[in-house]
């Protein structure tokens, strides 16, 4: 078991190195660092300002091979080596747009992001699994069909529309919640988060419910369910003790992988509702041509994803006796 985990983590590290290579190709080889610098300081800036900016932001080295250096420096004193070194040591440097340290922005944004993603994640999960279990219980009846049609309809609406409609209906027409903004004060934070969470749950509802329903139906069709009935289990007991317990394994694998993303925030929701989290930071970076921040966000996203995968495999191995006990 331990050997399996070690191998799994090892592969994760290799994948991460691959991701870094991809990022390097995208952000240093395809985009010219000179371009970034020119965009940041302006076309008409004096050459020394331009050079100074490049030095400050670590763009002042050759790409892969440093012909000016000797010995190992030929390879270590380059953008490629520097990129790996900084990313792996979480030294993200300064924003290309406004020179603020990226690490600080990350620390500031994490809490508001978690404030929206965690309730969104928990509520979405509970609602989808509960509805899916309910529908699976009433499979092949009109309740099932109605919910399926609803899922299909909600799935076909663009996420952007949910946000617009939510802000318009609840914020402007009904005036229940503030339409946007954020206040970390625990007494009022819920008022600011209610609408984005509601919108987020709604936009994910259809696809998730259908997914969980399929899992439940698959389990309901299995032979052990018939065995449970034959020994006298009632419907509710069959659903909870047998079907849900078995379905938890595939559900778990689907859920655990999402946990790391709670940290990267919800791009659209945060930016729309004025929540100063990491999602909004990313949107800002896109709009401000802030490559270094974007690079960092992509890296963190991948890092968290890989961590999520490893976490999933471990929890899967622990949850399923067939894997755990081999």
């Amino acid at each position: 078991m331990a050997a399996y985990f070690l191998r799994r983590i090892g592969y994760g590290v290799i994948t991460l190195l691959g991701v870094l290579l991809l990022l390097f190709v995208l952000f240093f080889a395809v985009t010219d660092p000179d371009d970034i610098a020119r965009k940041a300081v302006g076309e008409r800036a004096r050459p020394e300002v331009y050079a100074q900016w490049k030095t400050n932001h670590g763009y002042d080295k050759p790409l892969i091979i440093n012909t000016g250096a000797t010995g190992a420096g030929r390879f270590t004193d380059t953008l490629l080596a520097e990129h790996y070194r900084r990313m792996l040591t979480f030294d993200f440097g300064r924003s290309d747009a406004d020179d603020s340290p990226i690490s600080r922005r990350l620390r500031e944004g994490a809490l508001p992001s978690l404030g929206i993603t965690v309730p969104l994640f928990v509520m979405g999960l509970v609602v989808s699994v509960a509805v899916a279990l309910f529908v699976a219980f009433f499979r092949e009846t009109y309740i099932d069909r109605v919910v399926l049609v609803l899922c299909m309809l909600t799935m076909s609406v663009a996420g952007l529309l949910y946000i617009i409609a939510g802000q318009y209906l609840v914020g402007q027409l009904l005036r229940w919640f503030p339409i946007s903004g954020f206040d970390p004060n625990p007494a009022v934070v819920a008022r600011f988060l209610a609408l984005p969470v509601l919108v987020g749950v709604l936009s994910g509802f259809g696809a998730d419910t259908r997914f969980y329903r399929t899992i439940f139906l698959e389990e309901i069709g299995r032979d052990y369910v018939r065995t449970a009935r034959a020994k006298g289990c009632g419907d509710a007991r069959v659903m909870v003790r047998h079907v849900l317990r078995n379905a938890l394994i595939p559900i778990l694998t689907n859920v655990v992988v999402q946990i790391p993303f709670l940290f990267t925030g919800a791009l659209l929701l945060e930016s729309f509702f004025g929540i100063p989290g990491l999602g909004a930071l990313t949107v800002e970076a896109i709009q401000g041509n802030d490559f270094s921040t974007l690079r960092t966000m992509v890296y963190l996203g991948a890092l968290l994803f890989i961590a999520g995968q490893i976490l999933t495999d471990i929890s899967y191995a622990l949850a399923d006796p067939r894997v755990r006990l081999g």
């Binding site: 018939r226 065995t227 006298g232 317990r245 006796p321 067939r322 006990l325």
Partner: protein, 327 residues
């Protein structure tokens, strides 16, 4: 003769098809006396499993038991019982084991807990009492090292052991009737003999009636008291084991018996029944067996044969036996 333990009358089961409901079991009647072992034989798809599941009211959706059927168990009509009452019958009055021990056990629960659940559902016992009962049961069905096996997961047991667990689960509440749906089909030959012997011993010891579903006449010969033969959703012949194996009257039964390899007849060609079982919804008119029957004659395609009693215990549905029709 006293009232039978279980009496099925006029049982029909249908599934919705493209063009209206399709019957897979058609007007089946049969009965089982206390302590008796009845073997239900027939080719694949003839409706044996559905008949058995109907007795537990576990016909899978969207299948339906047609109105007009009666299933009397110990004098009560199971089809009109309330859901909680029916639940009390399952497991306690009638136990059931299935063909596939591999998939019939819950993979994420220990086998001990699964048998324990069968007890908890019907009896108010403390957990410790129930647990020792389970271990006792494991011993009874021949699971070695029962204490240790209590905490095992299904994937850790061999097929034979899993089927023993299934038997322990079905017998946990000492049901009066045990339905065994092809309990040995998925097992290899030596294990098959052991499981059959276990079933026979258990039913004799506990005076449990057994409905044994099989398509293996070797199994029939070893354990059955009586035999019923199903073809295309109907019971075509029934009788005591001796009668049926010695003097089968329905050409289908005769065909089935001729197609068994016999040790003394090695070298002879086996005779197979020509053709294959018609699918539900595509049953021929008249006698459903007539297209495959070597003795088919004038009335067979047109009129349905009536059930004709041959002796006090044997009866068959065939025009050859019906004296009013001239061959």
């Amino acid at each position: 003769m006293s009232a039978p333990l279980l009496a099925v009358e006029n049982l029909s089961i249908s599934f919705p098809g493209e063009a209206g409901p399709v019957r897979v079991v058609d007007r089946v009647s049969l009965s089982i006396a206390r302590g008796e072992t009845l073997a239900l034989v027939g080719e694949s798809g003839s409706g044996k499993s559905m008949t058995a599941l109907a007795m537990m009211r576990l016909v899978p959706k969207p299948g339906r038991i047609q109105p007009g059927a009666h299933i009397a168990f110990e004098g009560r009509d199971l089809l009109s019982l309330s859901v909680p009452d029916m639940r009390a019958v399952r497991g306690a009055g009638i136990g059931m084991i299935f063909q596939e021990p591999m998939t019939s056990l819950n993979p994420v629960t220990t086998v001990g807990d699964q048998v324990l659940e069968a007890i908890e559902l019907h009896a108010k016992l403390s957990r410790a009492q129930a647990r020792s009962h389970v271990i006792e049961l494991f011993g009874l069905v021949g699971i070695p090292d029962a204490k240790h096996r209590f905490g095992a997961y299904p994937h850790q047991l061999s097929g034979g052991l899993k089927q023993r667990v299934m038997i322990a689960m079905a017998m946990a509440m000492r049901p009066r009737l045990l339905i065994a749906d092809e309990p040995t089909t998925a097992l290899d030959a030596t294990i098959r003999a052991q499981i059959l012997e276990l079933l026979r011993d258990l039913s004799a010891k506990t005076e449990t009636a057994v409905l044994l579903i099989t398509h293996d006449f070797g199994v029939v010969n070893e354990v059955a008291d009586r035999v019923a033969v199903m073809y295309a959703g109907e019971i075509v012949e029934e009788g005591s084991r001796g009668e049926l194996l010695g003097h089968p009257r329905h050409p289908y039964t005769q065909g089935l018996l001729r197609s068994i390899p016999k040790a003394e007849a090695r070298g002879h060609r086996l005779e197979e029944i020509k053709g294959s079982v018609p699918r539900p919804g595509h049953w021929p008119t008249g006698c459903r067996f007539h297209p495959r029957c070597p003795h088919a004659f004038a009335p067979c395609p047109g009129t349905e044969p009536q059930r004709t009693t041959v002796s006090a215990t044997q009866a068959a549905c065939c025009h050859l036996l019906d004296r009013s029709v001239e061959p």
